[in-house]
Symmetry: none
Subunit: 539 residues, 2 copies
C-alpha cells in the first residue's frame, strides 16, 4: 500500500443534517462549509444532489460562492438503479452535474439489505457498484465508496463484504469507507474487522461511525489503529439518533494523543471558536460537556481540584486547553475570565495593562451579565461599550431615551402592519419619530434612523443585516429570558450587539440601542451637527 496523506472527511452537511431539530438553508450550509474549511478538514460532503433539491442548489451555488482553501468538496449519492444503465441514470447524472472533485457513493454490503431494501441479487449489487464507480472515475472524479452496514454484513457474510471492497477498488474507488451504519459496534469488533479487511484486500480503508453505543470516537480510533487512514465524522457529532463520530473530538485525539496531524496544529487552536460558530449557524448547540471544545470541557468545580490547579494546572487537566482554542475555568471564582477579556480588549485596539483594574471590573460585569443570559462572543459592539465604560468612565450619551412602542396589527383584510415609535432626547430636546417594518426589530430600527439621522448623518451608513433570537429556558436559573443578537454592517465592518430580557421586543430594543450608541461613540464624525440639535429638532 502506497503511503498517503491521512484523510479527514466531514459529513456535517449531509449525515449531520439528519440530526433531530436541524434544518439548514443553502446560505447556512455554505457558511458551515467555510468554517469546516477554516478548521482544516480534507473533504466536505455537501449533500445529496438530485435527491434533495436544496442540496442540488447548494452545489450550484458552491461553484461560485464557496472558495475553499484546503478542503475538497464531495457530492454524496447512491449507485445506479437495479437493472439500469449507469450512463442514463438520472441520479448518477446529478452527481456529475454537481461538479465536485470528489463523489462519495453509498453501496450495500449487507446481504439482507441487498435482498430486502434493494430487492435485487448479490451479483447485481456488485455490478451496480462496479459500473457506477467506473463511470464516475472515467468522468474524472475521485471516488470514495461508503460500504453501508459493513460491520453487520461482515458478521453474516464475510466473503461478500470483502468482495464489495475489492469490486469498488478494482473499479477505481480510491478509498472504501467501512460504515457502522446502525452504530451498534464496539471498539474491539471494529478493530478486528478493519484489520482483517485490510489484510484480505489491501484496499485503502476509511471508517464511518455512529454513537449508538457511546463509542463512536473510540471506534474511529480503533479503526485507525487497525490501519484505516480516512475518518468520517461531523461537527459536534451531529447526526441521526445518537449522532455521528464527533469530528472535533476525533481530530483532537489524533493530533494530540496519537501524533497524526489530521488538521494543522495552528488550526486546531481555533477549534473552540469554530465550534461556536458552527453551533450558531446550525442553531443546534454543542453539548457543554463536549470534549475539547465544550464550554465545560475545562471547567473545574471541585475544591480538591481548584486548590491543586493553583499549584499546577497540569495536575487536573489532561491537555492544554489553548491547544484546542478553549480555556480553563474555575467555577467558584472569576479568575478564568480576565485573561480572555485582556486579549479581547487588545484585539479591539485598547492597550490595557496585564492585571489592570479595568479588566478585572469588565470581567466581573461580563460574568454577571452572562449569568443573566448575555453572550458577548458575537456582540463586539456591546462588549466594547462595556469595556469603554470601565476604561474611561460612563461617557456622555449622544442621545437619551424617553419612551418607545411597537404595535403589530392584523387587519380584517388579512395584511399585517408593524409600526414603531420612539421618543428620544438630544441635548434635552425631544425628538419623535416613527417607522414601519416587516417586524418589530425592523420597525424600531427604522424609527431610530428617522429620529437620529438628521443630527448624526454618520448613521446613514448603519445597516441591519441579520438578527437572531434565542429563548433561554431555565438556562439562567430564573424565569425564561430571551437573548437577541443583531448584526449590523457599517462600512466594511460587520459587528453585532446583544440584548437580554424576558420580553423579546425589549431584548431587541436593548441590542438596537447598543448598536446606535456604538456608532456614535466610535465614529464621532457627526458631533458638530449634534452640538446644535435644538434647531433641527424643531422641524
Amino acid at each position: 500500500m502506497v503511503e498517503r496523506r491521512f484523510q479527514l472527511y466531514d459529513t456535517t452537511l449531509r449525515d449531520g443534517t439528519q440530526q433531530e431539530g436541524m434544518v439548514l438553508t443553502v446560505e447556512e450550509k455554505l457558511a458551515v462549509a467555510r468554517q469546516l474549511d477554516a478548521y482544516g478538514v480534507g473533504f466536505i460532503e455537501g449533500g445529496w444532489p438530485g435527491a434533495v433539491p436544496r442540496d442540488t442548489e447548494f452545489f450550484r451555488r458552491a461553484r461560485t460562492e464557496l472558495n475553499l482553501r484546503s478542503a475538497q468538496l464531495a457530492a454524496f449519492g447512491a449507485t445506479r438503479r437495479v437493472g439500469s444503465l449507469v450512463s442514463v441514470d438520472p441520479q448518477v447524472r446529478a452527481l456529475l452535474d454537481a461538479e465536485t472533485p470528489v463523489v462519495t457513493l453509498v453501496a450495500k454490503s449487507h446481504p439482507r439489505h441487498v435482498d430486502l431494501a434493494l430487492r435485487t441479487t448479490l451479483a447485481e449489487n456488485l455490478a451496480m457498484i462496479g459500473s457506477t464507480v467506473r463511470h464516475l472515475v472515467q468522468a474524472g472524479r475521485r471516488v470514495f465508496l461508503d460500504a453501508e452496514h459493513y460491520f453487520d454484513g461482515y458478521r453474516i457474510n464475510r466473503e461478500y463484504a470483502l468482495e464489495v471492497v475489492r469490486i469498488a477498488a478494482d473499479a477505481g474507488a480510491e478509498t472504501v469507507v467501512l460504515c457502522d451504519t446502525n452504530g451498534g459496534s464496539l471498539p474491539d469488533e471494529i478493530e478486528a474487522v478493519v484489520a482483517d479487511t485490510l489484510a484480505a484486500t489491501g484496499v485503502p480503508l476509511g471508517i464511518h461511525c455512529h454513537d449508538d453505543t457511546g463509542c463512536a470516537v473510540a471506534n474511529s480510533l480503533a479503526a485507525v489503529a487497525a490501519g484505516a487512514d480516512h475518518v468520517q465524522g461531523t461537527a459536534h457529532g451531529y447526526g441521526e439518533r445518537c449522532g455521528n463520530a464527533n469530528l472535533f473530538t476525533v481530530a483532537a485525539n489524533l493530533v494530540l494523543k496519537r501524533g497524526i496531524e489530521v488538521v494543522p496544529v495552528e488550526k486546531l487552536r481555533q477549534a473552540g471558536a469554530i465550534g461556536r460558530a458552527v453551533a450558531d449557524l446550525t442553531g443546534v448547540p454543542a453539548h457543554p460537556a463536549a470534549p475539547y471544545v465544550g464550554s465545560s470541557a475545562f471547567a473545574h468545580k471541585a475544591g480538591l481540584h481548584a486548590s491543586a490547579l493553583r499549584i499546577d494546572p497540569d495536575l487536573y487537566q489532561h491537555t492544554d486547553p489553548a491547544l484546542v482554542g478553549n480555556e480553563m475555568r474555575t467555577l467558584v471564582s472569576d479568575l478564568g475570565g480576565r485573561s480572555s477579556i485582556e486579549l479581547k480588549a487588545r484585539a479591539l485596539g485598547y492597550p490595557v495593562a496585564a492585571g489592570s483594574d479595568a479588566v478585572a471590573r469588565t470581567a466581573a460585569r461580563v460574568k454577571e451579565l452572562e449569568h443573566r443570559g448575555y453572550a458577548f462572543e458575537s456582540a463586539d459592539a456591546s462588549f466594547e461599550l462595556l469595556l469603554r465604560e470601565e476604561l474611561g468612565g460612563k461617557p456622555e450619551l449622544p442621545f437619551e431615551v424617553g419612551s418607545w412602542r411597537v404595535s403589530v396589527d392584523q387587519l380584517p383584510e388579512g395584511q399585517v402592519r408593524t409600526e414603531a415609535g420612539v421618543r428620544l432626547y438630544v441635548g434635552g430636546v425631544p425628538l419623535i419619530a416613527s417607522g414601519e417594518g416587516n417586524g418589530p426589530v425592523n420597525a424600531l430600527d427604522g424609527a431610530l434612523h428617522r429620529a437620529l439621522e438628521p443630527f448624526f448623518p454618520q448613521l446613514a451608513g448603519l445597516e441591519l443585516v441579520d438578527y437572531r433570537v434565542r429563548v433561554l429556558t431555565g438556562e439562567t436559573g430564573s424565569a425564561a429570558a430571551t437573548r437577541v443578537l443583531i448584526s449590523y454592517r457599517y462600512g466594511d465592518r460587520r459587528w453585532g450587539a446583544v440584548g437580554v430580557d424576558e420580553n423579546t421586543v425589549t431584548a431587541s430594543w436593548r441590542a438596537l440601542l447598543d448598536a446606535f450608541y456604538y456608532v456614535l461613540l466610535t465614529e464621532p464624525t457627526g458631533e458638530r451637527q449634534a452640538a446644535e440639535p435644538a434647531v433641527a429638532a424643531a422641524s
Copy 2:
C-alpha cells in the same frame, strides 16, 4: 482470583454533582438514590460525609428514609491525614459515623500528586492507605480504594502505582478502583495498564473513567475486557468537565452486547423512564442524543432509512429500543419523503395505506412548506392538522379569526407593557378578548385563552411551556423568514406547533393558532358547548 459478582457502582451523588449547574438538596439526593436502586446498580456512593455538611446529613437521613432494595450505600472520603493517627482522624471518624456497609477511600497513586498536592513522602502515602483501610475493615466495613490518577501515575512510576494496589489489598480493600481522573486516556492504554496491573498484583480491580477524550464508555469496556469486574459511572454521564462514564450506556452495552448482566434485564427495560426521572430530579437534562435512553436515540429522519424501516425495523436499529425502555420515532422532514410520513401517520394513530394518495399529497405539502422555512420535526400538532386535512378534507373550523393586534410600550418611567387583542368568530358570532404577558407570544396566548375557554373548556388544560425563534436568513433570495416553534403541554403529552413569516409576531400567531385548533379538533369534549356559542359570546 475467586469468581465474584460484577460490581456496578454509581457515583452520581458524589462525582456526578461536580457537574456544572448541578446543586442537589438532601431530599433530591434521596430521591435520585431510589431511582438508581430501582435501576439495579450494586452500589450507590452518597457523598463525602464530614467534608460536605449536606452529605453528612444525607447519610443521617438515609438510615431511616432510604430503604434500598438491592443497592448498598457507600460513603466516600480520603485516607487519614499526613503524620496522624487513623483512630483519631476526624474525617475517618465521619466515614464510620455515616454507618454505611461500604466505604470508598480515595488515595494518591501518582508520585507528583503525593509530592505537590499531599506534600508528603511516597512511603507515608502508602502508610496512610494501609492504616486507613485496615481501620475501616476492622470496624466491619467493606472497603473499596479509588486510586486517583492511576493511569498517569503508572506511566511515570509503574512500581509505585502497583505498590498502592498491593498495599490496599493487603490491608483488606476488596476492590482497588483504577481512576483515569483527568480523563485523558484512550482505550488501548487503559486495557494495557489494567491487564498488567491485574497480572502483577492479582487484586480485584475496578475502573473509573472521565470523558475528556470522548472515550469514557469505551475505556470502561476496555478495562472490563482486561479483567476489571467493577465499573463506576454516573447517571447520564454527569460530572465535572466532560463528565464521568455514562452508567446507563455502560450497563446497556455490558448487558446487551457483552452478556454480562450487571443489571437485571427486566430492570434495564425501565432505563428510559428512570433516566427521565433522574433528569427531572437533578434539573440537568440528558442529552437528547444519549445512547439507549436519549429521546433521539431511536429517532429516524433519512428517507433511505425510513423506507427500509417500513420493511424491517432491525435494518436500521442496532438493538430493540424496548429492551432499554425507549421507542422508535420517525421524524418528518423533506429529507425523509413519503415513507417517513407514512410511518409518522401510523405512529399518530392514522391507519394510512402504503403508497396512498393522501400520504403523497401530505409529503408534497411538507416539502413545499419546509422549502419556505417550516420544520415539522418538533411540531406534531401542525403536522397532524396537515395530515388530517389531506386524509379527510378541510375540517369545519371551531372558530375563525377576524383580526388580532399586539402592542409593546415602554413607558417614560421605564417599565414595558405588552398587550394583545383578538377578534374571533365562533359560529359567526364575534368574540373579543385581550391579554397581557411578558412578551408578544405570551400576550396572544392569553388573549386566545380568554376568548375561547368559555366555549371550549378543554382549552383550560393547554399550557404554553416553551418557544423558540429562528431567523432564516436569505434563503432563495427572498426576504428573511422567521420560524417560531411553540411547545405546549396538554395533560400528559407535550407537543409543538410551528409558524413561519417574515414578521416574528405573525409567525408566532400562526403557531399559536395551530395549537388551539389542534386541541379543539383532537379533543372535541367541548363540542356541545361550542354548539351554542351565541349566548355566551354576548357576555
